[in-house]
């Protein structure tokens, strides 16, 4: 079911992230997309994530459309100024894309082109505002467009942010700017997430809980030490360490999290980072 319809229904929505290739060979990308096709409601296409240069998220979103998958076109503010952003958003609409996820984007200092100019002409809140304007048939200078857009606008929120108040203020700005669904950053503390969900439900938005597949205990340690805002608790790390097959255990943990989300949340967003072929297994196990 398309993302818009799925979110409008009472159904538990599942999205998953697919990462574009570092080049023009799209065979693995397409193979993963086909594996996911009947398991998910929409697939997110990342936009040069971690500031590593890859095939464009717009091009890959169109490839997903051709495969009959509803794409969530991820768009960061890192690489384009306001003219290029608006132009690409209009372009995405004419090519048949219906969902956009607006993000600030990782800083270039994390990526493979550390000497690049970080653009950030707009921030994620302003980008959501701009998409709302384009949806309204106007550009960001209020000039009428010869044909506008009608995107379902999404944004990101970090439910475990510490301190949380500045993050929640920003979340509320994104809501008032026109974001209608949120895919959260990865979290592992379900009680904390429930509290966030109760707060977020005061607003007219859908929340998809971010599930990040733990491939191994080593990866969990890496996340804790290197990825800001992600906290894998000690008991999960122990569970992974004591398992004969850590990847299998990681899949089991992800499925368990989704099962728990199904009890109260609007949906889940699965980030498998290079393990896309295991996403169907996670979803099957969560049923």
């Amino acid at each position: 079911m398309a993302l818009k319809n799925s979110l409008a229904s009472k159904k538990f929505t599942i999205t998953a992230e697919i990462c574009p290739p570092k080049g023009t060979d799209t065979s693995v990308f397409i193979k993963n997309a086909r594996l996911l096709k009947d398991k998910i409601d929409a697939a997110n296409v990342t936009d040069n994530q971690r500031a590593v240069m890859r095939l464009s998220s717009l091009a890959c979103s169109v490839l997903l459309l051709k495969e009959g998958i509803d794409p969530v076109f991820q768009m960061t503010c890192r690489d384009r100024n306001r003219i290029a952003l608006q132009s690409d958003i209009l372009g995405a609409w004419t090519l048949g894309i219906k969902n956009i996820l607006a993000l600030s984007g990782d800083h270039v200092s994390f990526g493979d082109h550390r000497d690049a100019k970080p653009v950030f002409d707009l921030d994620s809140v302003q980008l959501v505002q701009v998409i709302s304007k384009l949806n309204n048939g106007q550009n960001m200078k209020d000039a009428a467009l010869n044909g506008g857009t009608d995107f379902l606008i999404g944004a990101v929120v970090a439910p475990e942010a510490n301190p949380s108040e500045p993050e929640m203020l920003k979340f509320e700005k994104k809501v008032s700017a026109g974001a209608r669904f949120f895919q959260t950053q990865a979290f592992y503390d379900m009680e904390k997430f429930k509290r966030f969900y109760e707060y977020a439900k005061k607003f007219d938005v859908k929340i998809l809980g971010g599930i990040l597949l733990l491939k191994s205990a080593k990866m969990a340690h890496f996340l804790n030490n290197n990825v800001p805002g992600v906290n894998v608790p000690e008991n999960l790390i122990k569970e992974l360490e004591s398992a004969p097959d850590q990847l299998e255990k990681g899949i089991e943990i992800a499925a368990r999290q989704i099962k728990e989300l199904k009890a109260f949340c609007d949906g889940a967003h699965i980030m498998a980072i290079g393990q896309e072929e295991n996403v169907p297994k996670i979803i099957d196990l969560s049923n």
Partner: protein, 266 residues
């Protein structure tokens, strides 16, 4: 300005200070009173190999330093002019002479200096400037189209001075000050992404993901505005920045200053 000796300045600060305190602070105050004369531009030395590339096929070199910011950064004062002279001579170059203006970015000073050094400069193949880009610009404009002028430094930022030898970037000169909406803490200068509506997803435990030594500027802004009872300011969406005021090159003429000067001259 540089002709004034720093030593005769500090008296105004010490009227009420007991001698022991004065002894401790004397050095600091002398430097502060010196620094206060300048807009502080931070520079760093270019790699010497790069400088040799510039000066390939140029033998007779005239040097310019700058006795304000670059002197403070220890990149273009008397000491560094001497070091550069030695390096160039060891590399087989002939340093024809040097000049250390009080402010190398001040075109009038450079023009006057050029007249004084006319013969030496005319007899040189190139000029190497140990000053910020504005200093290089003033020298190269004065040198005209015939004489090659090269930078020995990279210009980094406009600095605040915390104390002698301690600098940090306090203003990005963005052209549209937002400090009124951010509790006096600048997101343009302090957030690596220059975000205007709150922290990014990389904020963790109040720290910045780009450099975890640094506090997230949006957490600092939030904390300060909360203390001031002004969180309502943060709830409004900050509009996209207007970059039209920053179209380059920028020039400013202060009319009243020109009028006053003309009257003085009469």
């Amino acid at each position: 300005m540089g002709n004034e000796t720093a030593g005769d300045k500090p008296q105004r600060y010490m009227l009420l200070a007991p001698p022991c305190i004065w002894a401790i602070f004397e050095r600091e105050l002398i430097s502060v009173s010196t620094i206060w004369k300048f807009n502080m531009i931070i520079t760093k030395k270019k790699d010497f190999q790069k400088i040799l590339e510039y000066l390939k096929n140029k033998n007779k070199i005239f040097l310019y330093g700058c006795n304000s910011c670059a002197e403070q950064c220890e990149t273009g004062g008397e000491k560094e002019i001497k070091e550069m002279t030695l390096l160039l001579e060891n590399a087989g170059k002939n340093v024809t002479g040097f000049s250390l203006p009080d402010e190398t970015c001040y075109s009038m000073i450079i023009k006057k200096d050029f007249r004084e050094q006319k013969k030496t400069i005319e007899g040189s193949d190139a000029i190497l400037v140990l000053a910020c880009g504005a200093g290089v610009k003033a020298v190269s404009d004065t040198a005209g189209d015939e004489k090659p002028v090269f930078p020995a430094l990279d210009s980094l930022y406009l600095a605040n001075v915390t104390r002698y030898g301690h600098f940090f970037e306090g203003c990005a000169l963005c052209g549209e000050c937002v400090l009124g909406e951010t509790g006096g803490i600048c997101p343009h200068t302090n957030c690596p992404k220059g975000l205007l509506n709150g922290p990014c997803g990389g904020m963790a435990d109040g720290k910045c993901e780009v450099n975890i030594e640094n506090d997230c500027v949006w957490v600092r802004i939030y904390t300060r505005l909360k203390k001031q009872g002004r969180l309502d300011v943060l709830k409004k969406i900050a509009p996209a920045k207007d970059y039209s005021s920053g179209v380059r090159p920028r020039n400013t003429i202060v009319e009243s200053r020109i009028k006053n000067k003309k009257q003085e001259d009469k």
